[in-house]
Symmetry: C2
Subunit: 187 residues, 2 copies
């Protein structure tokens, strides 16, 4: 008799997941990561980041054969030529992506098979701040709203618990809600 | 005799820029914007945002004929298949893009012609937070370092002033350093 074990749930290899968690539990220094981006200006509001190397799990990662490239821009009304999402829209993407990935991993750990995860995000901004026209409004969003639709083989209350746990563990949700010290130097 | 006036500086139409600033000064409600993203889960750590419509300058924008699409993923060591930069790397891109665009606009307003703007960003993270292995470390970056190289037709101290002003007005720098209230709902 042969038994086929399927270790994948929601596209996550749960055996690898538990192995990773056990390894970092045993050796906490494996949890130290550094992520990086390089950006160069092209013209006007058009600039491009390249993203490849990072440090993590005790070594400099060499698994990415090519750099990712992500363009930013501004629409015409904000003086650009629409060469990509604008930086604030990229921040919404970063937040959506992190909450979604956290949610998928949490569901995998809790034996929930997901069939659908969608989210819509809105951020409200008075651009008089960023344009230097007012000191009474902040530069960034005053508020971000995230609305998730989550479907899977668990009752609604369990799916809501998974969303709550994802919020509690998402790296970008933490950064966007609590802030991060940023040091800027120039030469 | 004909005179050709070049209104472009750093790829920014300065006449349009001053016109935009004057219009919003005269009618502050034109500064009210809402940016948006939709995200859907594909598999595992792979998800994709589409970004198209926004509200601003007193109306729903219709200038983008197509949606932008941005993918996220995780490298193998973080249980993904490297389908895109990870969410924390996307946050670094959003920050770099916003500081760079702010810098380019500030330089245009201050009559500085830029020849080169590059930045490298690093973010330090102990992933034990996001993986749920420790409550003693935060989920997100503990610190972000941004290093700019800026070249143009102005002395170094003026270029540094432009960087400082960009920091003071960047929407994403504000959000990442000070945080934003985020409301998450799910059904």
């Amino acid at each position: 008799m042969s038994v086929v074990l399927d270790h994948s749930r929601n596209g996550v290899d749960t055996q690898q997941m538990y192995g990773t968690l056990d390894a970092i539990k045993a050796e906490p220094s494996l949890g130290v990561f550094q992520f990086r981006a390089r950006n160069h200006w092209i013209d006007g509001a058009h600039n491009r980041s390249t993203i490849q190397g990072f440090y993590g799990a005790g070594q400099e990662d060499a698994s990415r054969a090519h750099a990712f490239s992500v363009d930013a821009g501004e629409p015409a009304v904000l003086l650009g030529t629409d060469t990509g999402p604008n930086p604030a829209e990229h921040l919404l993407h970063a937040l959506a992506a992190c909450l979604t990935t956290s949610l998928v991993y949490v569901a995998a750990a809790r034996k929930v098979r997901l069939t659908e995860v969608e989210s819509t995000l809105e951020g409200d901004m008075d651009v008089r701040g960023a344009l230097g026209l007012s000191d009474e409004v902040r530069n960034g969003f005053t508020k971000i709203r995230v609305s998730f639709k989550v479907r899977g083989d668990a009752p609604p209350e369990k799916l809501r618990e998974v969303v709550e746990r994802a919020k509690a563990r998402s790296a970008v949700f933490d950064m966007v809600t609590n802030g991060v010290p940023v040091e800027v130097v120039s030469d």
